[in-house]
Subunit: 172 residues, 2 copies
DNA sequence: CGGTGGCATTGGTCAGACCAATTACCCCTT
DNA sequence: AAGGGGTAATTGGTCTGACCAATGCCACCG
């Protein structure tokens, strides 16, 4: 019952919970701001503060006069938006590349048949995409995809050179 | 110039620009909501919608009665936000355990000196915690921590048996 | 039957008010 | 003069109500 402390975040959680309980799926329209305010017993400005944050994170989309809609999880743009604030993020950029290498290294140790990678060894993106999909773990794949999107938002090129990719296929 | 399209995002950009132009550094106090509204020629509710989003992303912190302060970028709570959305909803439980194993497998391949793990081989939690820390990658560690927390919330016990942990130390 | 204009709905923005927490400041005591 | 305490000003938190702007629905008209 820690009520008073985080009313704002509680409102965000309440809206997300309501979306869940109403069984809304991506593309569905969510209740109007006025209806949300009434159902949650909060004011419309409070609803809006939560809704704008969700919209900024790319979880919902609002159309003037039309309503608010639940977006696909893959449409989330918050990573690019957050990256906008990381003007001095060079030190953390190494974390991104390092994490990607770790994730892909893990996938590689799981892989028995390396032949599936041979056709895509010439493309960095396709090579890594294929590698991750061999794991067949939805959560793992989502994590990789988000980190990769974050990494790409910094405008970097290939993660491995062609020679590195070929070497990875011969090692294990 | 700028279109009417995205007044909200324009407000966020304007606040960010003002922070830059005022030469504010992490820890500094930013102008009050009322002053921001006046300087940007927008209403206080509009200022609040932008500020609340920045606060949710961990870029600023607001203290009731005290003001709003610029946070250190190294806090990067945005990673927590990203992780929070990665590990919500329909993640299958077996994906959680599988992802943890993958992450720890990746850490293991990076580790040269296995002796640091010997003292903690008797404890599943300590073993895995120590293993992750050897990577020295903040983003990687946070991702692991979030997945592990979610896994624990399902009330599961040890991820590896004692025999499995000892085997991991002898393999490479 | 199709187009179209009006009206209800919904998001966008604003002004003002009041409460709650914090901070600043002045005055009194020592 | 220095320190402490209490009060007023400042600031964020929330709400009410209002009006504008964009959209969508639907009855009406051609």
């Amino acid at each position: 019952m820690e009520k008073k402390r985080n009313a704002f975040e509680a409102n965000i959680a309440a809206i997300k919970l309501m979306i869940e309980q109403d069984g809304l799926v991506p593309g569905d329209r969510i209740p109007s701001e006025r209806e949300l305010a009434e159902r949650l017993s909060i004011s419309r400005p409070s609803v809006r503060e939560a809704l704008r944050t969700l919209a900024y994170l790319g979880i919902v989309e609002t159309r003037h006069g039309g309503g608010s809609f639940l977006l696909n999880r893959d449409d989330h743009t918050y990573i690019q938006i957050i990256a906008q604030f990381l003007v001095t993020g060079d030190s953390k950029f190494e974390d991104l590349a390092g994490t990607l290498r770790l994730l892909e290294q893990a996938a590689l140790t799981q892989l028995d048949d390396l032949s599936v990678l041979a056709p895509v060894v010439s493309s960095d993106a396709a090579f890594r995409e294929t590698l991750i999909q061999t794991v067949d773990n939805d959560l793992f794949e989502r994590i990789w995809r988000q980190v990769n999107a974050f990494h790409k938002s910094f405008g970097q090129g290939e993660l491995y050179t062609q020679a590195e990719r070929e070497q990875l296929l011969n090692r294990p």
